[in-house]
């Protein structure tokens, strides 16, 4: 794969290192001369000096044959425009942009720059995942595939305590795939009885968390989202 990375800051440099280590071809583009010179020794021909928003600079880097363009400069306008010309002028199939200020996220969306990655948003989402509400933990969320796996702790007075799995009628689009009890997990059978303190793993369609939580939370209270 051939990747062009605009911006040789911490993010760009480390991405370039990782991709090169995995055997990919990379060109970094850096617009600050001191930063270019500081990185030239390490990256040699894999770094070029120039404004990545200028068309001739992108063409010199070989954008016509790039499989992936990643814009990770510290400037949101630059990241938007690099990705926009990559996608719309040079028909590059895959772009990734960094959002520096979360308030600009809407602008990326409006101009069709997706995926746009914001470190602030990512950390916020992690905080939400790490601080479980009613024992709910997101284990996996594949947005594109519309699939989620969550883990829920069964509360003492949850409506499902003492019920056989076969008798629990969960909404359409979700399934109990595993039960963790006393430190080890097993795949439940229809006659497995749910107990207080169990951790159940469910696979579900996105958006069902709230209704599912009610089955395992105290008194069937839905989680506050």
């Amino acid at each position: 794969m051939y990747a062009i990375i605009a911006g040789a800051g911490k993010v760009g440099r480390n991405l370039a290192r990782e991709l090169i280590a995995k055997g990919h071809e990379v060109t970094l583009i850096e617009s600050s001369r001191p930063s270019y010179l500081a990185n030239e020794e390490e990256f040699e021909h894999a770094i070029q000096y120039g404004e990545a928003t200028e068309l001739w600079v992108l063409e010199r880097a070989g954008i016509q044959r790039a499989d992936l363009v990643i814009a990770v400069t510290g400037d949101d306008e630059d990241n938007i425009l690099v990705c926009q010309v990559a996608k719309e002028k040079y028909l590059c199939e895959r772009i990734i942009a960094r959002v520096n200020s979360p308030r600009n996220h809407d602008h990326f969306r409006l101009l069709g720059i997706q995926p746009a990655v914001s470190a602030t948003d990512l950390i916020l989402r992690l905080i939400e995942h790490e601080v479980p509400r009613y024992g709910l933990v997101h284990l996996l969320a594949l947005e594109e595939e519309r699939l989620e796996i969550i883990e829920l702790e069964v509360a003492a007075d949850a409506p499902t305590v003492g019920e056989r799995v076969a008798d629990i009628s969960l909404p359409e689009g979700c399934l109990i795939i595993s039960v963790l009890r006393a430190g080890s997990g097993f795949v439940p059978k229809p006659d497995t009885v749910i107990q207080e303190g169990d951790e159940v793993l469910l696979v579900l369609d996105p958006g069902l968390e709230e209704s599912i939580t009610a089955y395992f939370a105290p008194n069937g209270q839905p989680a506050a989202f």
Partner: protein, 159 residues
């Protein structure tokens, strides 16, 4: 017409003043409060007394654009010092607020051409300057008998 101008530098402030004199409704948005002085310079009355509007803020802030009246703008002029800022905000004006006409200053001739083909009204001062320099270069030196040439004719058209 309601004209919203973002960037009150030499270019933006001059356009703002002439548009107001033409009888248009004019609103100016600039991140620097001091740029207001450029709007007052050389005028008898202050910008506001003449009927102009001035808002301090950056054009990537939707709130600032709204305060400057983008929802009613018929024409959006992006004349900040940065090509990249101008190209992004003009597209926001068009796509998010449905402004009918977005005029953008783009110093880089190559991108002025490409974005022009994408539906923005781009103006590249660099491109005009290049043409004028080229025609000045090919015209005879001062003082020599100059025969009227098409190249010279172009100089007047741009000024």
């Amino acid at each position: 017409m309601f004209v919203l101008i973002v960037g009150a530098g030499r270019l933006g402030s001059a356009i703002a003043k002439s548009a107001l004199a033409e009888g248009h409704e004019v609103s100016v948005l600039d991140a620097d409060p001091l740029s207001h002085e450029r709007l007052d310079a050389g005028q008898d009355k202050s910008w506001e007394d003449s009927g102009g509007q001035f808002t301090v803020g950056t054009a990537l802030e939707i709130d600032a654009l709204a305060q400057a009246g983008i929802e009613h703008a018929d024409v959006f002029i992006a004349s900040t010092a940065g090509d990249n800022t101008n190209l992004v905000i003009a597209q926001i004006a068009q796509r998010r607020f449905g402004v009918a006409k977005a005029i953008v200053r783009v110093m880089d001739p190559a991108r002025a051409d490409w974005y022009g083909a994408q539906g923005l009204h781009t103006i590249s001062p660099t491109k005009h300057a290049i043409e004028m320099f080229e025609s000045a270069l090919s015209s005879p030196p001062e003082g020599e008998q100059a025969s009227p040439s098409p190249a010279q004719g172009r100089t007047g058209a741009v000024a």
